[in-house]
Symmetry: C2
């Protein structure tokens, strides 16, 4: 099957090379190379002649050969499990856009569940001499991290916790604490956290900080975890939280997807009103959070901002490989919509 693309009935339609251009322009091949190298020494008229020939032939510098020589491929791996779902989709797209703009080549590694797939992804990445890897949040292919470190290639993790690695992360504890405080200030006594058992560091951080801060204020906190951090998982968590006799009046959903499930369950199945009966707050600010059906109050993570910072981190890492690992925290801003409104500064709750 693979053979079809491997086969060579036509021996691959040879691309035009610098030699072709040199011949047409009547100069040496090195002159062509210099013409395409900024800052190299070429006479203006020679360069012009070369450029004209190149344009006529449709020449494009072969980045494979260039990368081979310079030992730099410009390839950056984006490793993610389920890159199509929720916030990761937005983060992936933003990273691809930022990388392309700076001339890099984003390779999307859809790191599957099986070891076989993980291994194929590894071969792909290292075989093509990726010069950097960005690991998105999600279940952790720790073998990647291992291998990248042992080969000394820059690696940035987004939302993954790992020692000895550059890390960029939303400030989950701060957000969770602030929200717990806001719930209590608004008069809520019975709080709840709808999480998941996925065990992602971001998930764990949000839960722990929220629970800790709430109990510090003397509030009850119920915790329910779905099997995964998605809509289905959110439904499970919602069922558990609201099956008990003592229902919470304010819920922090670890995720917008979980929050949507929560809202659908409360409104659709239990007939509760939001936020009058139950206040709900999510995390991510997916576009869906602004939809009329939800109007979800949620913490905003800006994918483009995150992507730009991640790439900047990559650059400074490449500039100084021996520097100490950086751990960057980014503040999440609460987008206030209809599912919960904090008490305004000084003003009484309405």
């Amino acid at each position: 099957m693979t053979d079809a693309l491997n086969g060579k009935p036509h021996p691959a339609p040879r691309f035009v090379s610098a030699r072709d251009v040199a011949e047409l322009a009547g100069v040496s091949r090195s002159a062509v190379s210099r013409a395409f190298t900024p800052g190299a020494s070429v006479a203006p008229e020679t360069r012009e002649k070369i450029m004209a020939a190149a344009a006529r032939l449709g020449y494009q510098v072969n980045d494979l050969a260039r990368g081979l020589l310079a030992n730099r491929s410009r390839i950056v791996g984006l490793v993610a499990t389920k890159p199509e779902v929720g916030f990761r989709a937005h983060l992936t797209a933003a990273l691809a856009a930022v990388l392309i703009r700076r001339g890099s080549v984003p390779v999307l590694i859809n790191a599957g569940e099986t070891d076989e797939e993980t291994e194929a992804a590894q071969r792909t990445l290292f075989g093509h001499r990726a010069e950097a890897v960005i690991v998105l949040s999600g279940s952790p292919p720790s073998s990647f991290i291992e291998l990248a470190r042992s080969n000394g290639l820059p690696l940035v993790a987004i939302g993954r916790e790992a020692t000895e690695i550059d890390l960029i992360q939303t400030d989950n504890p701060a957000a969770a604490r602030a929200l717990a405080g806001a719930f209590i200030e608004a008069g809520h006594k019975r709080l709840a956290f709808a999480g998941s058992e996925s065990g992602t560091p971001a998930i764990v951080e949000r839960e722990q900080a929220f629970v800790a801060e709430a109990t510090r204020h003397g509030a009850d906190v119920a915790v329910a975890r779905g099997p995964d951090t998605d809509y289905a998982g959110g439904l499970r968590a919602a069922e558990r939280l609201f099956a008990a006799a003592e229902r919470p009046s304010a819920v922090f959903a670890v995720n917008d997807l979980v929050a949507f499930a929560l809202i659908d369950h409360l409104k659709g199945r239990l007939g509760l009103r939001i936020p009058e009966d139950v206040a709900v707050v999510g995390f991510d600010d997916l576009p869906e959070a602004a939809w009329l059906g939800y109007r979800l109050t949620t913490f905003r993570q800006d994918p483009l901002d995150l992507a730009e910072r991640a790439v900047a981190l990559l650059e400074s890492r490449a500039a100084d490989p021996s520097a100490a690992p950086v751990s960057l925290r980014i503040e999440a801003r609460l987008m206030i919509r209809d599912t919960f409104r904090p008490v305004a500064d000084g003003a009484p709750a309405s």
Copy 2:
């Protein structure tokens, strides 16, 4: 800025090469090459010695050099605008998974709106000697198609209409016609189509076939188009369709996103019941369509199926570059949920 990653304080941490392995194993470099080439002539014990040395050093064949020699990079470009939104996100992820499994390298080209970005994407793709390109539906970077064809590299378009190019497409007209018939059979007289002005071929096909079939049956069809094929566009279309005195009783939304907007508008703002007052049907079967808040009846496109067929098409194209362009139609299946239930076979409408 780019300079940071370009700079070479450490001259890039040289990967181990076949020569290193050869030295350690005490053989020639060609022996190493042969050991990693299936079907090459190597003595079993030599191969074993080489493999041991390779494992110890962590050697990995350099696909850049291999690709340079063979004139095959294994790189496949995925070109899409806004790859994070709706069905494209799922299609992109599915394609990446399929390509990785077969040993290809999926490069995600987030083809922006500006010419500058498009040009950067082109350079990236052709500079790295991509051996195939897959264009996802969306606004059409037609210069890509042009250039790919002139360089004779396999190109498959999904949902894009273009002559002289391999094409894979859902059978939009068939689905639209079937739905128009089902609406009428269920007793609806005033139909409507919520579309967009984006002008994507798939969009146009659905609109035209739906309108034609409905009028053929003598039904009224109102058409409203939002500026774009997304939630915001769907809201605009919904406003226009239901501002008129004569409200439609069944609406075909060109897209699940548009359908969600429609539902939110009808239920939330106009207080209508679905499907009692208005029936709504979408297209794509995004995961959101199964959410409790929507339970949307919609046509299903299977991203994995589409991805596998696209890659298969790529392979057969590579095997025979001179064959006539193929145009493949895939049937969309109606997923029946709560927003519309067709009359069952032979049974009367409930």
